[in-house]
Amino acid sequence: MNDDYLWDKTGQPDPQIQQLEDILGTLHYQPKPLALPNDLRVPQRRNYVPLVAIAASLLLALLAGGIWLRVRSRDEAPKQQARVEEPSTPKPEEKPNRAPQSPVNKSVVVHNRRQNRSASSVLPKGEREEALMAKEQLMLALRVTTQQLHLVHTKTSPANQIKNQHRVG
């Protein structure tokens, strides 16, 4: 028997092979356009990238807004002031040496303002006022601090210790 038919379709075919060819021949490739059914539903993958981008933008905008508000509120915060509060009605047992202090206070403040006029003239008006107020507070704070340190010095000085020993003795 010649097997060439199986290789290159030459020679005499075997009847069984021919029968198989007839049966399977109906299934061979036939070129034709792809026909998709109309009711076919393709599951879509949702694209979350734009949503994430929008959310990130909103978050950034909120963050920026928050920072801006914070900076703004800090700038517009009420000026911190040194408060020297005294009772409205002077009490009879009040120490007499405190009465003439307030006029001195005023004169010194005016003196300081005069001195600062030239130095602070380059600052904008609002900032200059705030700076002058801060300076007054600073001077007050330094005054209290130096007073306290002076007190420390007085109390820890050897002369004071001898005095205390003398008192005890």
Binding site: Q115, L138, A141, T146, Q148, V152, N160
Partner: protein, 193 residues
């Protein structure tokens, strides 16, 4: 169903901790003392001094100090590196207006690591005076003074590297009038003696 995003919280949390850790350490070393606990004393006090100057105000104030005036120049140099000055001082007409717990709110903060008590003067008549320094290595990082008498409570807190010598030199040069914070009566007596 698989989740859309697999978020591993451990990595960002670690990163956040790494970022925040230096800030937390810095905060722990901050020499700012919280004095808000003393605010209620203002209502009882006959005289209150409340000064709160943060770094921004300090820089702003430095702009108006004159370089021509020697005293002002010294103050300007002194505050150049400071980050804040906070003072609260109360004077009362009668004894017992503040309690030990009020003082303890301040002293408790001064027991934090870094703070060292430099001076402690206690006397029954003249009250108690304590000076604390916050040391950052060899540099002074802050100063606190706590002074109590029967009718007076004063807390001073300077934040930042303070030059104590310069501060001591400023005494009597500032041109700021007497505020009656220091017990002038006692100093007079001492002067007479």
């Amino acid at each position: 169903m698989k989740p859309l995003f697999h978020i591993n919280f451990r990595t960002p949390l670690l990163a956040l901790l790494l970022v925040l850790a230096p800030a937390l350490v810095a905060k722990a070393q901050d020499s700012r003392i919280q004095m808000g606990g003393l605010d209620h004393l203002a209502a009882k006090a006959s005289q209150t001094v409340d000064v709160s100057i943060d770094e921004r105000l300090m820089r702003l104030a430095a702009k108006v100090f004159s370089d021509k005036d020697e005293d002002e120049r010294e103050v300007k140099q002194l505050i150049a590196n400071l980050k804040g000055i906070y003072v609260k001082s109360f004077e009362f007409d009668t004894d017992g207006q503040f309690v030990a717990a009020d003082v303890e709110t301040i002293r408790m903060q001064l027991r934090a690591p870094g703070w060292t008590r430099l001076v402690n003067v206690t006397s029954k008549k003249e009250g108690m005076l304590e000076v604390y320094l916050l040391m950052n290595g060899e540099q002074i990082g802050g100063l606190a003074v706590l002074h109590t008498e029967d009718r007076e409570l004063t807390v001073v807190n300077i934040v930042g590297p303070v030059d104590l010598d310069k501060l001591a030199k400023l005494e009597g040069q500032l041109g700021v009038p007497e505020l009656g914070i220091e017990p002038t009566k006692k100093t007079k007596k001492e002067d007479e003696k």
